[in-house]
Symmetry: C2
Subunit: 333 residues, 2 copies
């Protein structure tokens, strides 16, 4: 396809992560389901923050993390998301732009503050997320820049966009524009509880070919097809006849298309610190491979390499240049 200015455009909730270590009993005391993302209002967010430990603040947001990972892999990337013109919003914009991503969504000048995700990391490296959506609630179809969508080879969007009131309209509008320009549209299912909230709508997106590529982890896939059996869920995904990419934590990933099933091992790590962003960075590596014409196995390997980097430190933005890691693995992007 000719005329792409960007290789991947992301659309998602623009969020600043506030990360602290927490013991298991902290989760219990606050009634938090380990590993999940829960939506909280501003008051609940304040209450939780007051009780959590000393924190590190790093820009986050699922699709935004993926797009920053893509930029770190040397992929021309852009992002659409809504922050307020406050300290956290300025940080978010600074960080994503200085990561090499084109980001030009207008700041909200009034209303709720920039979204925060209070991330609690337990000693097992698992993260439990509590999101105050704030300014993301102002993301709507008007924020979708048509020229940008048309100029991007792949449009990548998160299931979490079903949470704020108007963001799904932005999602659907962007998907239409992308397909009209002959581009591909990818969806990440985001979280098993998110799948539970919007199962029928996500299946509809897949079955109407509103999306061409679907990313899910094992839990999300099982939730989507309401089964506890992985193979049953995988077979159901294969029957959708789109490109399905399923991550399985330490067991690597499985990629299914109408005519292929490819399993790829996980990349080795020295030490698991914080799983925040594992799925986001896997998607970054995979999309980098896909957009640059790698085969599915190498795309899966790239996903594993990017995910392995992110889970060995706090936060979901890469600490090193991922393009160097990819080059070390022998995969030419």
């Amino acid at each position: 396809m000719a005329g792409e200015t960007y290789e991947v455009l992301g659309l998602g909730n623009a969020i600043v992560d506030v990360i602290a270590r927490a013991e298991e009993d902290f989760l219990q005391r606050h009634g938090l389901a380990k590993g999940a993302m829960m939506l909280v209002d501003e008051q609940a967010a304040h209450k939780l923050y007051d009780d959590m430990g000393s924190a590190t603040t790093i820009s986050g947001g699922s699709a935004a993390n993926t797009i920053v990972g893509l930029a770190s892999l040397g992929i021309r990337s852009a992002f659409i998301g809504k922050v307020k013109d406050d300290e956290a919003g300025q940080s978010f914009a600074h960080d994503i732009r200085r990561s090499g991503v084109h980001f030009a969504t207008p700041f909200a000048k009034e209303g709720a503050s920039t979204a925060r995700c209070l991330v609690l990391v337990t000693p097992d490296g698992e993260r439990t997320m509590n999101t105050y959506l704030g300014a993301c609630q102002n993301l709507g179809p008007d924020d979708v820049d048509e020229a940008l969508v048309r100029a991007s080879s792949i449009l990548y969007m998160e299931g979490y966009l079903w949470d704020p009131p108007a963001a799904k309209q932005a999602f659907l509008k962007a998907a239409d524009m992308a397909h009209d320009a002959g581009r591909q549209v990818a969806l990440t299912l985001s979280d098993s509880f998110c799948v539970d909230r919007y199962r029928d709508e996500f299946l509809h997106l897949m079955r109407t070919r509103t999306v061409d590529i679907v990313f899910a982890n094992e839990h999300e896939l099982k939730s989507l097809y309401q089964t506890s059996d992985f193979d049953t869920a995988l077979a159901a995904l294969r029957d959708e006849e789109l490109l399905g990419v399923v991550t399985r934590s330490a067991d690597g990933c499985v990629i299914v298309s109408h005519d292929q099933t490819v399993a790829v091992q996980a990349s080795p790590i020295d030490r698991l610190v914080d799983t925040t962003g594992a799925g986001d960075l896997f998607a970054a590596g995979f999309l980098a491979g896909l957009v640059r014409g790698c085969d599915l196995r190498d795309a899966g390997r790239l996903g594993g390499i990017a995910a392995a980097e992110i889970i060995q430190h706090y936060g979901a933005r890469p600490n090193v240049n991922l393009a160097s890691l990819a080059a070390q693995s022998g995969i030419v992007l």
Copy 2:
């Protein structure tokens, strides 16, 4: 000594660190001296921030880091420092309190914003710091809580307090109160450029016994005595006849008193990531040993253990419970 509520009280500049990786040429382009702390005004801080990479925000401040390290070692600790009642100031207060430190200095309600230190970490793990003092400029003698000073076994203060206009008055007032209550007073020389700015005053503090314990790294010690020869500088420190603690990065530390010279090796590390806080955390470990009656060698070992933890990740606040690390080393606190 009876009646101590706290074992160590810190007095220092309350700062939030904004940390980003940077290549060597970034330092050159901005005329920054690697490894040093430079004071910048608000405008220069904004300009530098705009050009630096994606950042992680973590509470910092030299003496504050030391005090948090002490709390992590299980030492009853308190801190005096000035932040504004803004987002960064609220974070600073949250983080230090949630680390187990008593912190009750009134927030500045107006004037300059909470201090930031823009920290640039080069690939060699060295950090270069650019500090906008902001609300620290409002720290003064009125912030020194006499009951708190009298109730603390050791008062630990930073040379950086000579930078804001009124903080040295707070330092001198607190030192007087501490000595009046039979407590010990410790000074860290902070930075070789800081020593260069205030050499005569720091020597005066030492020679008038305004301080009983001095922490310095090799560069600061050489700057203090204006010599390029370490042994000459160490001999001069020994002649001051107070307790001198000198850190030498990978070469460990040397502790001198009127009748002893003790050299202690550095703790081994797997990977150097960011030296920010190495000296601060060394001081935490050493003071923990000192206040709990360890011998100088074990105090030096504790310093090394705490420093080794901090330089293996970004930021100058511990990522793990330091008391557990100390216990693993076999030193009973």
